[in-house]
């Protein structure tokens, strides 16, 4: 692309011709305030908080949707600009439900942050307030339209990035609102619970459905308490306590859970290794029989619901293997309960997950009576703070046996490409019957939303594809439907970046931050001695003592699942 030179606050800087002013400014260290802009979404230009001055232009322009031109002279914070931003903020606040202290986004809300930075101490307009019922119907997210500033970020991510089309703009003028169509509530809508809208929303209009209260009750119930923590939590929880992204806090996290009162802290990573053993075995079988290929991974409950709604005729392409969460939950309430001589009903299992969709997953009828509650990373941090635990100064401790050991392959589950890489490590060995040297499959790594990799496994060329975000998944599913899919094995994750970018992770979900989180997981992997799932000694012991063969009858009963045709929305043909 042609380069142009522009003048930014008196300095000459280079830019791509046609690049938006906000992008140029950010590259040069100027974080222009914005409420309806995200680098990955379409530009809406609605909030006008991002206005800047362009010489020769009598009006201020929205920097998020104005392209630069050669020689443009731009200023980003003159008194006139600051005044305009202040006025625009006041207008947004004029009909806002100003109940910040009791808002779920308190201290995390960008509207609040800007109101604070711009010193808005009173709202001179007494606009008409919205009055809508808060929608608590979804198991995963809460919509409070009284807090909505119509920045459309949720609509963008839901419709353009995820292609779920659960919500959209309705009505006009003062009555404009964002909601599912036909007066459906969120639970009746096509929502797949990914929570990406929660992450995108700058205000308290979208928040996760909290289970903190229920968990506090459980902590005081006198029952036997077990926690499991998903692979990505250790790489993100520290951010909630002020650490920079990419600093793992595994040991402190386990200690904090013990301090909260959990008798056992198990690692979802242990179950991730089992997922790979089962999924790998299943893949090899299907590959040899040339049946139902490509096979698609099923760790992500948001993706599963998406497939059940929009591609129910292609469900036989899904692996039948449960997600690591659901595998550990199953084992806790069967194997572990038996081993300890406990009634599964006396065990409360709480999952710490990156993900609002896991709140939906545990409610699936197939998983009834297994996991009891899901807390997201953000909720766990709040609970730790409520219990006045000095998180950063905690000593480190390790997960409990017999479901606490994991291999490097499990560590990388929390990022896009991780499940595929872990699977390839095991499939390569299991297919060749050897203990191969190779553990690194670099082509499956990185943040591109669609990655292809062809690997040679014992003379067999296996074509894989890895996607994150469901708009990309849709492309692969349309290929499968048309019978033109060139792949054997596909990994799909709903969230941008995989679970490190989950709907329950602390924001903001900028690419650089997600990459740091993924880097932390990759380091955990490379530091481990054992890096292949099927060599996890505790997992092998579990198969020997309890489960029997890889992919055998008992393993199938406890570790696999079935899917439902959810063609509720008639959008699927």
């Amino acid at each position: 692309m042609a380069k142009v030179s522009v003048n930014l606050n008196g300095e000459s800087v280079e830019a791509d011709d046609g690049e938006m002013i906000i992008d140029v400014a950010r590259r040069n260290g100027i974080d222009v305030p914005h409420l309806c802009w995200n680098v990955r979404f379409e530009r809406i230009g609605a909030c006008r908080i991002c206005v800047v001055e362009v010489e020769g232009n009598p009006k201020l322009v929205a920097s998020c949707s104005t392209p630069v031109k050669a020689g443009m002279v731009i200023k980003t914070h003159t008194p006139r600009i600051l005044e305009a931003r202040r006025t625009n903020l006041e207008l947004l606040l004029a009909n806002h439900d100003l109940s910040c202290t009791t808002c779920a986004k308190n201290l995390k809300c960008r509207l609040q942050e800007y109101a604070h930075d711009f010193m808005i101490q009173e709202v001179p307009f007494s606009g008409k307030r919205k009055r809508e019922e808060v929608d608590y119907s979804s198991p995963s997210i809460v919509r409070d339209n009284n807090k909505c500033i119509l920045c459309e970020q949720c609509v963008q991510v839901c419709n353009k990035i995820q292609t779920v089309y659960a919500i959209g703009l309705q009505n006009r003028g003062f009555k404009t609102r964002v909601a599912p169509p036909m007066r459906m509530d969120m639970n009746e809508s096509a929502c797949i619970n990914c929570g990406q809208c929660v992450v995108a929303c700058p205000t308290g209009a979208l928040t996760e459905k909290s289970s903190i209260k229920e968990v506090i009750d459980a902590l005081n119930s006198g029952k036997y308490l077990i926690a499991q923590t998903a692979p990505s939590i250790r790489a993100t929880l520290g951010e909630c306590f002020g650490l920079p992204p990419g600093v793992p806090v595994t040991g402190q996290m386990v200690s904090a859970l013990r301090d909260l009162g959990f008798q056992k802290v198990f690692d979802t990573n242990f179950a991730a290794d089992i997922t790979i053993i089962e999924e790998g075995t299943e893949f090899i079988k299907r590959f040899k029989e040339n049946r139902s290929l490509p096979m698609i991974t099923t760790c992500c409950p948001a993706w599963i619901k998406f497939a059940e709604q929009f591609y129910y005729q292609e469900l036989h392409h899904m692996s039948s293997c449960r997600s690591p969460q659901a595998i550990l939950a199953s084992l806790v309430k069967t194997y572990y309960a038996e081993k300890m001589g406990k009634d599964p009903k006396d065990i409360v299992l709480i999952d710490i997950m990156p993900c609002t969709a896991k709140k939906f997953e545990i409610l699936r009828p197939e998983y009834k009576g297994e996991a009891d509650y899901v807390l997201t990373t953000v909720e766990l941090a709040k609970l730790i703070k409520q219990y006045s635990i000095d998180f950063l100064n905690l000593p480190e401790s390790s997960f409990d046996s017999p479901m606490g050991e994991s291999t490097g392959a499990a560590d990388i589950f929390g990022q896009t490409g991780g499940v595929m890489e872990a699977a390839l490590r095991s499939v390569a060995d299991l297919m060749s019957g050897q203990d191969l040297q190779r553990v690194d499959y670099v082509n499956v790594r990185g943040m591109e939303t669609m990655k292809e990799a062809e690997v040679d496994l014992g003379g067999n060329k296996i074509k894989t594809c890895i996607v994150h975000t469901l708009g990309e998944a849709r492309k692969l599913m349309d290929q499968i439907r048309a019978g033109t899919s060139p792949y054997h094995f596909i990994e799909i994750m709903a969230c941008y970046g995989g679970c490190v970018g989950g709907g329950g992770q602390p924001g903001p979900h900028r690419k650089e931050i997600l990459e740091k989180r993924a880097g932390a997981l990759r380091k955990e992997d490379s530091d481990k001695k054992i890096r292949k799932s099927h060599q996890n000694p505790d997992a092998l012991r579990l198969y020997k003592e309890y489960l029997g063969e890889f992919g055998g009858e008992k393993a199938h009963k406890l570790l696999h699942t079935t899917y439902t045709n959810r063609c509720i929305i008639k959008k699927c043909k």
Binding site: N159, Y165, L169, Q170, R172, P181, K570, K571
Partner: protein
């Protein structure tokens, strides 16, 4: 009467949506949920988008009309005299929020441009009769007369 399928067959995609919805409304009097879903399926346009367009233009109706049509004038004169407030009062009174027709099918609320009685703004029209110089209290009284409460 033309079937919904016959109507849809004349249109191709999203860019025709407004014309398509207009024709469906002309034929059936309103845009039913079923018909919107059939459009969703036939032309592969997401339901949120169809519903968004159907609620954006006040000329589209999502319910069969109620027994009484209340038209709130939103012309300039009435606007200046707080027609918005009158609309809000009626919404509350009738429990409408963003619906157009009351649950019991008694009233449909429509927004219209100048009804030619500017001198008495703000105005509403119920069926054929104009009610002018409205205040919150007066609007409440008129609705009560209709509902007999």
């Amino acid at each position: 009467m033309k079937t919904i399928g016959e109507i849809i067959s004349k249109y191709r995609d999203r860019s025709d949506l407004i014309d398509l919805l207009s024709e469906v409304q002309e034929e059936y009097g309103y845009l039913s949920e079923d018909n919107m879903r059939i459009i969703e399926q036939s032309l592969d346009i997401p339901l949120v988008d169809i519903y968004g367009v159907a609620t954006f233009y006040s000329s589209f109706k999502l319910n069969p009309a109620g027994r009484h049509i209340i038209r709130v004038c939103k012309g300039t004169a009435c606007h200046v005299k707080k027609a918005d407030m009158i609309e809000g009062v009626l919404d509350d009174l009738l429990g409408l929020r963003d619906k157009q027709t009351t649950e019991d099918g008694r009233f449909t609320l429509e927004l219209v441009n100048c009804i030619g009685a500017c001198a008495k703004a703000p105005n509403i029209m119920i069926d054929d009769k104009v009610y002018g110089e409205l205040t919150k209290e007066k609007a409440e009284r008129i609705i009560k007369e209709f509902t007999g409460q």
